[in-house]
């Protein structure tokens, strides 16, 4: 007797009952619901951003730029004037500004323990893109919609990446995406959503981690940090675009210690295609140094740094190519502000809609 055991197992394969239409339709609805605006942030954070060749270095004639803090924006609530001296050159390269910036990165120094959480409060506005999809059954294409959805977010993330975190999203009134009417669905998300952020098996490769424990161990020199931005497969066809995206991911809703922050500021300026805007405004009206890169979607994404400490104030997206972006040049199509970054002992234990705290695969 010499039967292959695998074949024997294949022969006792049980019959499968059919996938009931009702259950199938419910699963599909659930998936479509999950793909709705709440997750649209992925568009902004997409790792597959494309390259736009050529530098966007900004011509600067002035020798000094005055950056004013908006009253009420700083912790003291008082207007604060900061003067940053710019190099006396016409084409200001990003690396030159960032090199200066790095020397200043020193203010906040949080030191969370491994069992604590980084809590970040922010205000966001991102584009929500709907429709334009082909129905698998009817072949019909749904109407394309665009609007800007706005939220206030509070996120708790484990300092060492091992504990479940939490997120609250308060939906604010939507705005029109420049050139587009606001669709009805823009008003569907209201109130405040409370979501658990389960840690799922820790399968993220080390080079993609953004928890405090891993950020604090990154190189504190620009070359080392630049190498880190280009480490591993970060997706997409453009290594430079992926490196810029990685820099944003390391700063957004995280806390990076001053030494690594300084190194990252220097490193991001060496990414091809990155340019500097001397005064960029975040969603809270605070002005900072914008370091940006345009994508093939016709939108330049700016990381906005505090001119004094070079922490991330927020981000913004500005249309630079009307045709690609389907919106007028200069339109503000994304705007965020990180309002506070603090340490918390615990994260709220929210349940997801199934009543469980695990959403892991």
């Amino acid at each position: 007797m010499n039967h292959d055991e695998i074949q024997l197992v294949a022969e006792i394969r049980p019959d499968a009952p059919p996938y009931e239409q009702e259950a199938k339709a419910a699963a599909r609805r659930g998936l479509v619901a999950a793909a709705r605006p709440k997750t649209v942030k992925a568009i902004w954070r997409r790792p597959y951003s494309m390259v736009l060749a050529g530098a966007l270095a900004v011509a600067v004639g002035a020798t000094a730029v005055t950056l004013a803090r908006t009253p009420g924006a700083g912790p003291s609530g008082k207007a604060e004037e900061v003067v940053v001296t710019m190099p006396r050159i016409v084409n200001l390269s990003a690396s030159e500004v960032l090199d200066r910036a790095a020397k200043a990165a020193s203010r906040t120094d949080l030191a969370p323990r491994d069992d604590q959480f980084i809590k970040v409060e922010s205000q966001t506005m991102y584009g929500s893109f709907g429709g334009g999809a082909v129905n698998g059954e009817t072949g019909a294409t749904s109407e394309e919609t665009r609007y800007l959805y706005r939220t206030k977010r509070v996120i708790w993330q484990s300092a060492d990446g091992t504990r479940d975190g939490a997120l609250t999203i308060e939906y604010l009134k939507p705005k029109a995406y420049p050139g587009w009417p606001i669709p009805e669905q823009a008003y569907e998300d209201t109130g405040t959503a409370e979501l658990p952020l389960p840690i799922c098996g820790g399968k993220i490769p080390d080079y993609m981690r953004t928890d405090y424990a891993s950020l604090k161990n990154l190189p504190s020199d620009a070359d080392g940090m630049r190498a880190h931005l280009y480490t591993g497969d970060r997706g997409g066809g453009s290594k430079d675009g992926a490196a810029f995206t990685a820099a944003g991911d390391m700063l957004r809703e995280t806390y990076m210690p001053p030494a690594q922050r300084a190194a990252l500021f220097k490193a991001v300026g060496t990414i091809p295609g990155v340019g500097v805007i001397e005064t960029a405004e975040d969603a809270a009206g605070r002005k900072g140094i914008g370091v940006g890169r345009a994508g093939l979607d016709g939108v330049r994404q700016d990381l906005i740094f505090d001119p004094k400490t070079y922490e991330l104030l927020g981000e913004r997206g500005i249309v630079v190519d009307e045709k690609a972006a389907k919106s007028p040049v200069g339109s503000l199509v994304a705007s965020t502000a990180q309002l506070s970054v603090t340490v918390a002992d615990e994260a709220p234990a929210f349940k997801d809609k199934n009543g469980t705290t695990s959403g892991c695969g």
Partner: protein, 196 residues
């Protein structure tokens, strides 16, 4: 009569050389498109879940959850792979192993299934006859495997994945697939011998 063993010919043809990569790529900027992946593969994933789990409700849940998890992880999908099925099977496998009791109930039900009478096997291969007679022992052997072994074995034996696809699904090297299957064969053989 007890349920007939499925014939290979009755199984659905593998999907056409559809390019799942394009759908997943589009879904990065237009999340709605991800539903297209569901339309393509939901039946197949459900069939596999229903084979491995004893109750349909759990299979429904596993299928729905598989696509939700896949949606959340889509930014990390390897866009060089044009067939997303191994990836989906990998996610489904993990979810199935979280339903250990439903899985064990399935194997027990399989073991209880009475062997068919010899007369009804006239038009069947000797191998199939043997498998049917061995069904209770095989089910017991399956229950005795480690979950990693069972996941791999059933992806190959019940989902018809190639070794390469199974390797992708479970995120293990092809060499590991071969050695693990070889070890699993030996375990099953020993288990059958002890039942004999």
């Amino acid at each position: 009569m007890t349920s007939a063993l499925p014939h290979r010919a009755e199984l659905p043809a593998p999907p056409p050389t559809s390019d799942d990569t394009a759908l997943i790529r589009e879904s990065l900027t237009d999340p709605d498109r991800f539903a297209g992946l569901f339309d393509r593969h939901a039946d197949e994933i459900h069939r596999y879940a229903a084979r491995r789990l004893n109750d349909v409700t759990t299979a429904d849940d596993v299928t729905a959850e598989t696509f939700l998890v896949a949606f959340r992880k889509r930014t990390r999908y390897d866009l060089t792979r044009s067939d997303a099925r191994p990836w989906l099977y990998g996610i489904a496998s993990k979810l199935i192993s979280g339903h250990r009791r439903a899985e064990i109930r399935r194997l027990k039900a399989l073991a209880r299934q009475a062997p068919e009478r010899a007369a009804e096997f006239e038009d069947r291969s000797a191998e199939r006859l043997t498998a049917a007679r061995l069904r209770p022992a095989l089910a017991a052997a399956l229950a005795g495997l480690g979950s990693a072994e069972r996941d791999l074995l059933l992806l190959v034996a019940w989902a018809d994945l190639t070794y390469e696809e199974a390797a992708q699904a479970l995120g293990i090297p092809i060499g590991t697939v071969r050695s693990r299957l070889s070890r699993t064969r030996t375990k099953i053989r020993r288990s059958l011998e002890s039942h004999a």
